[in-house]
Structures are given as C-alpha cells and as structure tokens.
C-alpha cells in the first residue's frame, strides 16, 4: 500500500497538530458514511455490554467465564422466567452466554490484536531498520507464515496445543502477527526515502527519535486498518476453532454455544445457537464495516479527484 501523505510542512513543531487535524478529518469522513456509522454504533453497544457484563448478568461463582448450569432447567425456550433467551442442553442460561461471551470475545480480540501488533511492529521494524541478512531472514520467515491460510494454520496450532480457550488465543497470536510485520517494514522502507526524514537526519535527529516521531506514526494508519479488520476476523476465526471443538466446553463463549446448541436445532430448539451465532455475526460485521470504511477513506485510489 502506498503512502498518501501530502508533503509535510517544513516546520516540524506543527507535525503533531497536522496529524491531529488529519485524524479529526478522517473521523468526520468516517462518520458521514452511514455504513461505517452503523459499524461504530454496533461496536459501541457491544463494548458497553462487555464492560457492564457483571451488572447485566451476575457473575457465576467461582468462575464467571464458566456458564452457570442449572441442571433442573435444561432446554427451556426463550421467555421462561429467569431465562429470557432460554437455556442450553446443559441448563446454561443463553442470555448469560451472550453477555459474558462479549467479554470473552473482547478478551480474545484485544489480547490477540495487541500482542500481534506489538510483535509485528517489532519484527517489521528490525527488518526494515537493520536490513541486510537479518531483513532477508525475517522476511523469508514471514513469507513462510503467509503461505499457510490463517484459519488452517490456527486450527493446526490449536489442535496441537490441545483444546482450551487459552490455547486458541495462543494459536491466533502465533498466526496473526505476520501481516503487521510486513506492513511495518514496507512503511519504514518507504518513509526512509521520504524527504522529511532525510531532512530530520540532516538536522541531527537520532535514528530512534526519527523512528518514534516519524516512522511509527506514519505506519499507524495502515496498521490501524488491519487491526480493525482483525478485531472482527479474530473473533470469527476463534469462534470457528471453538465450534470445531478446540475450546473447553462449559465456557461462556459464542462459538462453543453455537456448537452446543446445534444439537437442538433439528428438534426446534433454535435459540441456543441462534443468539450466540448472531452475536458473532454482529461483532465481525461491525468491525468489518468500520475497517472497510477506514480503508476506503485512506485508500488513494478511491479518493475523489478534485
């Protein structure tokens, strides 16, 4: 992806201000797009749900991430007193699963995205800045990782680590860092040639300060796009892994609930898998809409010719 920055004004003191203005403009563009706005709205609601989970559904003791199971109330339909969205085959409260599942998903996506972004930035920067055989080696490793489709790679890793939610997180971290490394390196190489960096070097800035003041902020836009898309994608992939059977059963996780609820659909018990499935869909949809909007807003090709 190419860098689209307008020539930065020579006065470096205002660089921060310029960047802030640009972010503000970006936000305005984004919110004026109705689909992106819907995406933001859904994200906001889902985050609120995750944050206020303990108030919406009292946490299960001792482990709130385990579904509370009421073995005396299995397979109850929605609307049953105490179980507005019904119960699962194991007497789990579907509403509880939907609410606390948002926390599980938030945990999953935030951990995986932050870990992979950090790893990606670190490796991409080392490759881009140091260059030479280190760059060559790191990029060949990145190429190898990119040769395996993400879900399949994550599936294999999670299968090998054994079924648990922690292992799903771990396997996604192993798989998802490569794109960031590639983006970071490409940005560094591009920026290194840019005039203002050359200028900074002349002024006598250290390599490190150039990295933090210019390279990192410039790489942040494409990384932000990728991270937003990944926030949704990771929940989707994670849910697929747990659907296939790689999470421990009994945890409040949407994929696990869909998988468990599958058993009852043929018998008319649609609720146990429909609601959690819908949540996965909404989550992925929201982040994809925002990511898509962000990408279009930043992509030079779709910018208006004025």
């Amino acid at each position: 992806m190419a860098v689209t920055d307008l020539p930065t004004p020579p006065k470096r003191e205002t660089a921060f201000g310029v960047r802030m203005r640009r972010w503000r403009d970006l936000l305005k563009t984004l919110l004026s797009n109705p689909t992106t706005f819907i995406g933001f709205l859904i994200i906001f609601l889902l985050l609120a749900m995750a944050i206020f989970a303990p108030f919406l559904a009292p946490p299960n003791v001792p482990d709130p991430y385990q579904m509370p199971r009421d073995w005396g109330a299995t397979r109850m339909p929605p609307g049953t007193p105490g179980f507005p969205l019904g119960t699962t085959n194991q007497g789990g409260d579907v509403l509880y699963g939907v609410i606390w599942g948002s926390r599980t998903s938030l945990q999953l996506s935030v951990i995986v995205v932050s870990v992979t972004v950090v790893i990606g930035i670190a490796i991409g920067s080392i490759a881009g800045l140091v260059g030479g055989w280190i760059d060559e080696t790191l990029m060949r490793i990145v190429d190898v990782f990119l040769s395996i489709p993400e879900l399949i790679f994550a599936l294999a890793v999670a299968a090998i680590l054994g079924p648990s939610f922690t292992n799903i997180i771990l396997s996604l971290c192993i798989v998802f860092w490569v794109k960031y490394a590639r983006i970071m390196r490409a940005q560094i190489i591009l920026i290194r040639q840019a005039d203002y960096v050359q200028a900074a070097r002349v002024i006598g800035d250290t390599k490190l300060s150039i990295f933090f003041k210019d390279m990192l902020p410039n790489a942040s836009t494409p990384i932000a796009v990728q991270a937003t898309l990944d926030m949704g994608n990771i929940v989707l992939v994670g849910a697929t892994l747990s659907f296939i059977g790689l999470a421990e059963s009994g945890i409040a996780e949407w994929g696990v609930l869909v998988s468990e609820g599958q058993a009852g659909i043929a018998s008319g018990r649609w609720w146990a898998s429909t609601f959690p499935g819908l949540m996965i869909f909404l989550w992925a949809l929201a982040f994809n809409l925002v990511g898509d909007g962000l990408r279009d807003a930043l992509d030079p090709r779709t910018e208006d010719k004025r």
């Binding site: 073995w71 054994g162 079924p163 421990e248 059963s249 043929a266």
Partner: protein, 553 residues
C-alpha cells in the same frame, strides 16, 4: 428410581411419515431388497477379529459377518448356541468334572461366504491365531490369559482346556468378537499368520459365516453389507449400509429427515425425538458400560498437572473418596445429561450382570451435608484444593466432569475441579502412559458379561486399574478384597458366588475407587418403517442386530 421410570415411559412413539417427505428423501432407484441405512459413529479401525479393540466401532460389523461358537439372543442374557450346537455346562457333561475342559459340538453344513466348509479346524485355527498374533490393543488376552490348549477332536467337535477353573470363560472369552471364527483357508491364502503383525487382507476384508456378506468399504464414507442368501439360519431381510463420520447432530437430523433408518446416538439426544414424525424411540434396559471417574494416587513427585494443589496421596484418604461420591449430583447427570435414560449404579457390578444385589448400599443421591462433614474431617475443607479431571472433549464424560465440578464447587468456592478436555488421541495417550499423571479421569468401563471381568479390571488391588491407580495404598483392607474376588472367580456354585459378589458390592461402597455417575440406558431412535427393533447390551455397540430387523415401506 422415579427418574428412570419417567424416562422409560416415553416408550416407542410412532407417527406416520408424510408421503411428501418420503418421496423427496428416498433414493430414486428402487430395489426389490431394501437397504437399512445406519448412521454410525466411528470408522472401524480394522475388520479383523484378532485386531479389533474391545468396544471399538469395528466390532459391530464383525458381529454381523463373522460368527462365534455361542451368542446371546434378543431379550435375554442367556447363552445360546451359534456355530456350536450346545452350550457347555456341568449338567450336560460338556464341561469336565474338574471344570477345566470345555467341549463344543459344532454345527454341520455351514459354509463360509467364499464357499469353503466350516469345520473344527477353523475354530482351532481362529483361536490359535488370536493368541499367536497377540496384536497390541486387541482383546487377545481374553483367550490367551485363559486357554491352555485347543484341540480338534473330530471335524465337528472342538475342545479347549483352560489354565485354571474359570467361572466366566463362556461369557468372557467365547462371546467376545475376538473369538470370532475365521476361515483357515482364507487366511492362509492371504498372508497367513505372522506373529505380532496385523494381516492387511483381514483388516479390510471379511469372509465369515454370518447372515451378512461383506460388501464394499469406502474409507471414511460408508460400508455395505449384503444379505447372505446361503445362511444356515434365518436369513436376514434387508441389506445394510453404514454411514461413517457423522456428527451426532447430523445423525439426528438425518433420522428426522428419513435419510437414515437407524442411528447410533446417546441418551442426550433421545428426548428430542418425542413427537418427531416417523421416528420411534426404543428404550429398554441398560448398557453395561458404567460411566465412571477414577481416582489416581500413583503420581510421581512433580508430575501433577499444573495448578493442582493436592498431594499425590490425596485420594488415599477414604473419606475424600466417599465425600466425592456423596457430592456428585446424580440427579443432574441422569435427568439433565442423559435425558432420564439411565440409572444410578452399584459399585462395579452393573445392573443386569450376574450377582448384582439390588439391596446392597449404593451412592445415588447427592448428599452435600455428608460430603462436607467428610471433607472437614479429612482436613481439606478450610484450605480447599484444586484437582484436575482429564476428559475427552465434547463427550458425555466431559459433562460428567462438569457436573462433578459444579457439585464440588457449589459447596465451597475454595475447592476447585479443573475439567481438562483434550482430543481423543491425547486422552488415549494420557490414559495408557505409565505412570498416569492425572489425579482423576472420566470415561466409561468396558462392557462385559461376567462380574469378575469388571471386578478384576476395576476393583482388584492387583488388577489393571488397581496397579495403575495404586489401590493397595487406598483400600483399608486390600487383601480381603483381593481374596474375595479371586475366590469368586473360581467358584462354580452360583449361589455361593452370588453371595461373594454381593459382599464385594458392600465393601466397594464403603471403600469406593470410582465415582460412578450412572449406568446409561440402552436407548435408540429409529424410523418406524423398521420392524423388530431390539437392543441387546451384550451385542457390540450400537447393540443392534440388523439381521432381525425388517424394513417396510
């Protein structure tokens, strides 16, 4: 008990299937002979009786194509002749006075599916082959641990001498699929016997004497059996096709849609069928595979699963084992997980097995107060503990683990049960590794027809699990239990034997080595166009004999 009755009351539900659905779902091609389509669970690993693992999917296919000397019929656990013509007993003189030699008069005029005649040579060859091959994982021990010598008396008389008196020989050694009769000519023509190595031809092909002839096997997809027109007994009505590798849910859907006639299912799914069009539910009796959680005390220093706070002799304290048995929520397991199709079960003499004493004390009702008292007395209540139970993920056993977790944690949040769900292969590996490094594990027991098989394996201090779990350090009086089991094994008088087994039941209640959640109900759902459905828990899973079913339209 009322739970169980409620479950059984669901009975066969028969509703006529609407014609519209039939016309859409049925094959467009019509055959004179119908094909019963069975939604099976697992792909068989092998079709060779000498290689098949007891309890594994291949057993039910071997059951239909090969035959054994004796069998059990539907509706009764009494032995009846199959390739033999009489069941040996002391009364009819076919068991010798000293109890060690068994004589089997054989059926004449039986031929294998390739046309070769069946004689006593085939019987001797088949049994010797199993003992000579000693294939790992197979059930060869049922023969090799017991048999001293096999003899061909004449073409149609076969004799076997045992190493010791053995009251369980007929049920435990002659009945299992391992003792199936193969054709010596077929085996010799296809690689013969090479000790320790499996026979490639026999793992993938079958030439037996049974009511079904082996058809085709598309690996991971399906396997077909065709009616043996030259069968010596009552001919089967319909061909059979087994479909493999289906999710339990897909099997349920397929049965509803009429794509399958019979399916392998567990009780969890059965309540869903009440009121389903064209589907009947069969529910009678119990399977002979108690669902259990084991206690292990043989964990070396430092090998405890990470996070566990117990010492390796935690379960050596009988009070803790009793407390766990009291704490388990049996009602939740049977009503919630098994959908009402199951029954609480006495300690390692399952209901339906000889010697089961309905009056012996059993754990069967959750008693948290008693559990708390025992745990306080054992001194583990205040400090709490974390202990891992390993299970195969996604299985009924995992649910059993979860119920134990819920039961224990509901008493005191400081007492934690960590349910570790792992893939099947990982679980199998963990269970056979020695030493076994998990303090608890959940699975089901292997089915058997004689109480001694269960007691030897699951209760004897020097038996299979006794050695692995360290029963000698756990029982208060291990020798008493050992002596009693050993005595019952060679006792030929039925009443005396029953008395011993009843006494063992009480001893094992007081000093439990397992938490037995339930004995699962023998239950299945099938299309109501299938006539004559019977489950016999002594037949290999899914406990169905296709030869006696009739598919009507």
């Amino acid at each position: 008990m009322t739970h169980q009755e409620e479950g059984l009351k669901m009975g066969p539900i028969k509703v006529v299937l609407s014609a519209a659905v039939v016309s859409l779902m049925l094959p467009a091609v019509a055959f004179a002979q119908q094909t019963i389509v069975h939604g099976a669970d697992e792909e068989p690993a092998t079709l060779d009786p000498a290689e098949v693992e007891p309890g594994e999917g291949g057993e039910s296919i071997i059951f239909h194509v090969y035959e054994r000397l004796l069998t059990v019929g539907a509706g009764s656990s009494d032995l009846v002749p199959q390739l033999a013509t009489e069941v040996p007993s002391l009364e009819n003189g076919l068991i010798s006075e000293d109890g060690r030699t068994y004589t089997f008069p054989l059926r004449e005029g039986v031929t294998f599916h390739d046309g070769s005649p069946f004689t006593a040579d085939d019987v001797k060859y088949s049994w010797d082959r199993v003992m000579e091959l000693e294939l790992p994982g197979s059930g060869y021990e049922v023969l090799s641990d017991r048999v001293a010598e096999t003899r061909v008396v004449d073409d149609f008389t076969f004799e076997v001498t045992l190493q010791d008196i053995d009251a369980s020989f007929l049920y435990s050694a002659v009945l299992p699929m391992t003792a199936s009769i193969v054709s010596d000519e077929v085996v010799e023509a296809n690689g013969g016997i090479v000790a320790g190595e499996s026979n490639e031809f026999l793992s993938g092909n079958m030439v037996g004497t049974g009511p079904y002839v082996f058809g085709t096997w598309n690996r991971t997809e399906n396997l077909s059996l065709t009616v043996n027109d030259g069968y010596w007994g009552t001919k089967a009505n319909d061909n059979v096709r087994l479909e493999f590798g289906l999710d339990p849910d897909v099997r349920v859907l397929g049965l509803r849609a009429g794509e399958y006639d019979t399916i392998e299912t567990d009780p969890t799914y059965v309540p869903d069928f009440s009121g389903a069009e064209g589907v009947s539910v069969y529910s009678e009796g119990l399977l002979l595979e108690p669902l259990h959680i084991g206690f292990n005390t043989n964990i070396p220093e430092g090998s405890m699963p990470s996070g566990d706070t117990i010492s390796s002799d935690f379960f050596a304290d009988v009070r803790i084992r009793q407390a766990f048995n009291h704490a388990f929520d049996y009602g939740a397991f049977i009503q919630g997980a098994l959908g009402g199709f199951g029954q609480v079960n006495p300690h390692y003499v399952p209901i339906g097995v000889f010697g089961y004493d309905p009056d012996a004390p059993i754990y069967g009702e959750q008693n948290l107060a008693e559990a708390e008292r025992l745990l306080r007395e054992a001194g583990v209540w205040d400090e709490g503990f974390t202990v891992t139970v390993i299970v195969e993920s996604g299985s009924l056993f995992e649910i059993q683990g979860l119920i134990l977790k819920d039961s224990i944690e509901s008493m005191n949040p400081d007492m934690r049960i960590n349910v570790l769900g792992v893939a099947e292969a990982v679980f199998d590996e963990a269970l056979v590794s020695s030493p076994l490094t998990y303090p608890m594990w959940a699975k089901n027991g292997d089915p058997a027809a004689d109480p001694i098989d269960y007691l030897q394996t699951y209760a004897h201090p020097d038996g299979e699990w006794g050695e692995i779990h360290g029963f000698r350090n756990m029982y208060q009086d291990p020798d008493r239990i050992a002596d009693l089991i050993d005595a019952a094994a060679v006792e030929l008088d039925r009443d005396t034997r029953a008395g011993m087994i009843s006494e063992l039941q009480t001893l094992l209640y007081e000093d439990p080595m397992w938490i037995i959640g339930a004995q699962e109900g023998a239950v299945t759902a099938y299309r109501d166009r299938i006539q004559g459905m019977v489950l016999q828990p002594l037949w290999p899973r899914p406990s169905i004999n296709f030869a006696i079913l009739d598919k009507t339209e």
